[in-house]
């Protein structure tokens, strides 16, 4: 009886922890990472000393939402890399669960689409839970603060996944534009429908 009680208590504590723990809020310090890029080299944010921040996007090959946003992610990098906010894309999925998101498939997709940004595999899936990414695509705009990276925006790229031309709120673009003028983003977090991140149960 006591053990049932303890188990229940442990489950309750664990479930409340998992609901709140893990995942950044705006203002939090974000961890750096060292992950394999599609060119075979390891990439960290520390490798970009002249960057003012980063547009970190958890995304992948297979998810239709990610595919719908590929060209817009390229456009974000094209617009903001030269202004100090390059895109770093990270595939958070376990390739054993989602074979279309294997490293080889990432390499292939990056070549096909000529991704101008790093496309990294979250090998071992240690990074996405720290950020609190739950879906693809899921964006974290970070701003350099001394040697730290502060989270300034979390959420969607814009407000129309199906048609870029019909989007009239460009959340990430507006957030980075604000940061570039020294202001805080007017919209700091948004939600979007996306594919759940795939991990072994």
């Amino acid at each position: 009886m006591k053990s049932i009680f303890l188990t229940t208590l442990a489950l309750l504590v664990f479930s409340s922890l998992s609901a709140t723990a893990g995942g950044y809020s705006v203002g939090d310090k974000a961890t750096d990472f060292r992950l394999m890029n599609v060119d075979g080299k390891m990439v960290s944010m520390a490798d970009f000393p002249s960057a003012s921040g980063f547009i970190v996007i958890f995304t992948c090959n297979h998810c239709p939402y990610s595919i719908a946003y590929e060209d817009r992610i390229i456009a974000l990098d094209t617009k903001f890399k030269s202004r100090g906010y390059p895109v770093i894309a990270i595939n958070p999925n376990d390739p054993d669960v989602q074979p279309e998101d294997s490293f080889d498939a990432m390499v292939e997709r990056a070549q096909e689409k000529e991704f101008p940004f790093p496309y990294l595999l979250d090998e071992g899936q240690k990074i996405y839970p720290q950020y609190g990414a739950t879906r693809t695509p899921h964006v974290f705009v970070l701003q350099k603060d001394g040697s730290d990276f502060r989270v300034r925006y979390i959420g969607a790229i814009d407000n129309n996944h199906e048609d870029a031309d019909d989007a009239d709120e460009h959340y990430v673009e507006a957030a980075v534009d604000a940061l570039l003028t020294g202001a805080a983003p007017a919209v700091e977090s948004t939600k979007a429908i996306g594919c759940s991140i795939k991990y072994k149960k």
Partner: protein, 176 residues
């Protein structure tokens, strides 16, 4: 001809039944005998979430391309088919893209002969409606909302058959 009539009855009956339950949709997707209400705007679908009765309403957000969603769909279908005397309504809200309705959703539904009510929600401004379903929802699918007059539970997860049955039983009691 008789076959055609039979098919029509099969297809139209669930649609007719759902008509009294579902709020009016912006448009209807109708092809090859399949009739699906399409909601262009969450506002139109919102009254569904405000119903409070002795019926247990199970609303599942899914899409044909979402593997973990498709994996759990049979368990929702079982609830629709085998609920016995329990008052249960399963509504599967497809988030398939508008341009995929004909080439993906339609063949999917035809192949599986789905019995649950299927509607399509194509409101692209998800940031505007995700919190209206549940504030704890991050936006990842599958996601499921279960409610009746007295209780409401939201889950952002893929269900096993046992997990779903046990949660629904906690609302309705066990079917004898």
């Amino acid at each position: 001809m008789r076959f055609l009539l039979h098919t029509l009855t099969l297809v139209l009956l669930p649609a007719a039944l759902s008509a009294q339950f579902l709020p009016p949709s912006s448009s209807i997707f109708e092809r090859d005998g399949v009739v699906i209400p399409v909601y262009e705007n969450f506002d139109a679908l919102a009254p569904l979430f405000d119903q409070r009765s002795d019926t247990t309403v199970i609303i599942n957000f899914w899409a044909t391309w979402c593997a973990p969603c498709v994996e759990e769909l049979p368990y929702f279908e079982e609830l629709t088919r085998d609920h016995g005397t329990r008052k249960i309504r399963v509504i599967l809200v497809s988030l398939d893209f508008r341009k995929q309705l004909t080439n993906r959703l339609l063949p999917f539904l035809q192949k599986r002969q789905m019995q649950s009510t299927v509607v399509v929600l194509v409101d692209p401004d998800a940031n505007g409606w995700i919190d209206r379903v549940d504030s704890s929802w991050s936006g990842a699918i599958p996601a499921t909302l279960i409610f009746n007059a007295t209780r409401r539970e939201f889950r952002e997860q893929t269900f096993s058959r046992e997990e779903l049955q046990s949660l629904v039983n906690s609302f309705t009691g066990i079917q004898e």
